[in-house]
Every structure is written in C-alpha cells, then in structure tokens.
C-alpha cells in the first residue's frame, strides 16, 4: 500500500532540482529518493547535465561584449537607417505620386533580420543572372504560364509590373530557392541599352515595411514588405532611378492588393 503523503511526482523531482519545490515537500522528496535509487539516479543525471550546460555556455557571458552590440552604436545605426528610409520615401514622394506612401504608416528603423536576409538573397540572384548572356531567364515574358506558374510556386498571386515608362521591357522570369529554400520568383527587365533590373518576390515573415534602400557595390536594392510578400527591386546603383522604378512597381503591385485581382 502506497502512502499518499510520501508519493512524489516527477514534477516535484524537477522542482527539487531547480529549487522550486515547496519547502514542506523537501523531506518527502529526499526520503523518496533515498528509497528509489532509479529516481535518485535520474535526479543526479539532470543535475550533471545542468552543470554541463552551465560549463559549456557560461563563458559566453564573461566574454567582452562585441562592439556591434554597443547600445550607443545601435542607437546611432538606428538613426541612420531611419534617415535613409525617410530620404528614400521623400525621394519617391518627389518623383512620383505620393499615393500609397502615407498609407504605409510610421517608418520603421533598422529593417528586420528577415528583410535584410531577403534583400541579400535578391541581390545575389540579381548579380548572378543579370550577367548571364545566354539564359538570364527561365521562362520568357510571352509565355502564358509565366505568372500562373510563379504565383503557384511562390504561393501568392504575382504580377509583373509594367516598367515601360522607364524604357524597361519584361524579359521573363525564373524560380529561385529563396530564404530557407522557400520558392522565390524573379522577374527581369531590360532596356534597349542592355541595362537590367530585377524584381524579386517571396513569401516573407518580415513585417510590412516602407521601402528600404541599400547598396552593395555596383548594385543597389529597394526592399518593401506588403502583406505576406517581400519585394526587392535590384538594379545598378543609380539611386534616383532605382527609387523611381521601385516606387512604380510598388504602386502597381499595391493596386493589385487593394483593388483585388481585376
């Protein structure tokens, strides 16, 4: 017959190890362990494993904090990003209709990790395929399955904006392994002089954002998040032109969302 007052649960054993046990249960648990060697061995193992974890990682907290995690520095970086984003919006406002931009709400500062990663992947894809002579695209613009196919793979209704006012003609698109292997679509545009721009679209966990401009050497990109899709327009690092193009793409794609798929 089990004495109910001395019955000890697993939860209590964990609480005992973690110093969370009610004080009035301490002696009951200790007598239980004395009488149950298997439980005592488990408790000893849990303690040993906790110690291994503390030994393994404890040193990290004793190391000096790297400079890029310095709060003053982060605050400065935040201001810089906010300024860049504000400048980008202002530029977009000056060159195009302001429609939509104010609807974006308050500007964010530093873009989220997801947004930064997506931008980096879009720039990589841009660099790789823009220089491709023979096969820059996978499916040509005149193929009727281009948009349905990419939309289905990416998981969102996609449209390729018309960038004819910038002298850019849609060449076609391709499917890419995006962030974490999720399908991403890339549309490529070309001017008569051979200048190429890409629009990268992928389902994104990043929050909705206003546009963020970033430069990577000769290539620049503008990122924005809309609904559950992140967009990146990449092209030559001519800031004014890229912002105008991104603004136009944004307005056309936003229209799709606000007015339905008509």
């Amino acid at each position: 017959m089990v004495d109910r007052t001395t019955q000890v649960t697993d939860d209590e054993l964990h609480a005992y190890v973690d110093g969370e046990l009610r004080p009035d249960r301490r002696s009951a648990v200790e007598s239980w362990l004395a009488a149950h060697p298997e439980d005592a061995a488990r408790v000893a193992a849990w303690r040993a494993h906790s110690e291994l974890i503390r030994v393994r990682y404890g040193g990290v907290a004793r190391n000096p904090v790297p400079a890029h995690l310095d709060l003053d520095r982060l605050t400065r970086a935040e201001r810089k990003w906010t300024w860049l984003a504000a400048a980008a919006v202002l530029a977009a406002f000056l060159v195009g209709g302001a429609t939509g931009w104010f609807g974006r709400g308050v500007l964010e500062g530093v873009p989220s990790l997801a947004a930064q990663t997506e931008t980096a992947e879009a720039i990589d894809a841009h660099k790789l395929y823009v220089s491709e002579v023979r096969h820059p695209i996978e499916v040509p613009a005149d193929a009727s399955h281009l948009l349905p196919w990419l939309s289905r793979r990416v998981g969102s209704t996609l449209r390729a904006p018309d960038l004819g006012t910038f002298g850019l003609k849609l060449m076609g698109g391709r499917l890419l392994p995006g962030h974490s292997g999720k399908p991403a679509a890339m549309f490529m545009y070309e001017s008569t002089s051979g200048e190429r721009y890409t629009l990268y679209c992928a389902r994104s966990a990043a929050p909705e954002t206003a546009l963020h401009y970033s430069v990577a050497g000769p290539v620049a990109a503008v990122y924005w998040g809309d609904g559950d899709v992140g967009f990146v327009v990449s092209g030559p690092a001519d800031r004014d032109r890229l912002l105008k193009i991104a603004q136009s793409a944004y307005e056309q794609l936003d229209r799709r969302i606000t007015r339905g798929n008509s």
């Binding site: 193992a45 291994l52 393994r56 990290v60 982060l74 997801a114």
Partner: protein, 163 residues
C-alpha cells in the same frame, strides 16, 4: 543613462549566453541579440515596468522562433566528429556532447531548459517568456531532460561498440 537603458545594457552578456546556447552558433546568436536590442530600444515606450531582463528574453525567444520557422526547411548542420577518441578523452568532451544533445531538442523544450538551468529563471518567469501556463513549461522541461539523458546515455555506448 536611463534606468531602462542601463538594465538593457547589463542584460547583454546573459542574452548572448542564452542566444548562443539556443542557436549553437556565435554569429547567429549575436545577430539575434542585436535584433533584440534594437527592438527593445525602439519600443522602450511600450515597456510598462516589470523585469527588463525577462522582457528581453521574451523578445529574443520570439525572434528565434520566427527565425526557425523561416529556416525550417534548412537541414540542420551538425559538425562532423573526425576525432571522437580525442573528443572523449579531452576536457571538451562533455561540452561537445551536451551541445549535440541540445541540438536534438524541439525549440520550445530547449528554450525552457536553458532559461531554467542556464539563465536561472523561475518556472513562472519562463511561463511568461514563453507565453504558456506553468504546467506546459514543466512538461517541456521534463521532455527536454528525458531527451538529453537518452541522447547522452545512448550515444556513448554506441560509439564504444564500434571501436
């Protein structure tokens, strides 16, 4: 410096420790810490008292969850052991093993275990950080410990057997 900012600053070493154990990758960990700090500084006005450190753990835990969700299809890269014998003999042996044992845990379980044993949070604080009832924290902790024990009990004999 404001009290809030000061509290954030003094929490950085512990946040790095937690992030490192959670992700097992120094660079990813510091990225997470940086993102956590930026968000914390940006939303200082949303913080209405309470424990800054727990709040930071909450932000970091959520950011890591988002990160894992987006990485979910990436194969987990585990360092290959090219020298298990030396590994077993050396003082690092236990460290490498516990690292691999933690790698086998489900994210929520690893987070619960680390917050309790490494960061010294109470069950109640962990429940707040994870946004679940205490009972859930305890079952995550129990599963985590059972899994770590099974991994460490199981793997060593298997390695010895092939020698």
């Amino acid at each position: 410096m404001s009290g809030f900012r000061q509290d954030v600053e003094t929490s950085i070493p512990a946040l790095r420790r937690y992030a490192r154990a959670l992700t097992r990758d120094g660079d990813v960990a510091d990225d997470l810490v940086q993102d956590t700090l930026v968000r914390a500084l940006r939303s200082e006005h949303l913080f209405h008292g309470g424990d800054v450190r727990s709040w930071l753990y909450t932000i970091l835990t959520n950011l890591n969850r988002n990160r894992l969700r987006s990485l979910s299809r990436r194969p987990a890269l585990m360092p290959m052991d090219d020298n298990d014998a030396a590994d077993m003999a050396g003082p690092e042996a236990g460290g490498r093993d516990i690292e691999r044992a933690l790698a086998t845990l489900v994210d929520e379980q690893r987070s619960a275990l680390l917050l309790v044993v490494l960061e010294g949070l109470s069950y109640r604080e962990v429940a707040e950080v994870q946004g679940v009832p205490i009972g859930t924290v305890m079952s995550r902790l129990a599963r985590a410990r059972a899994q770590v024990k099974a991994f460490l009990d199981g793997e060593r004999p298997a390695l010895r057997r092939v020698k």
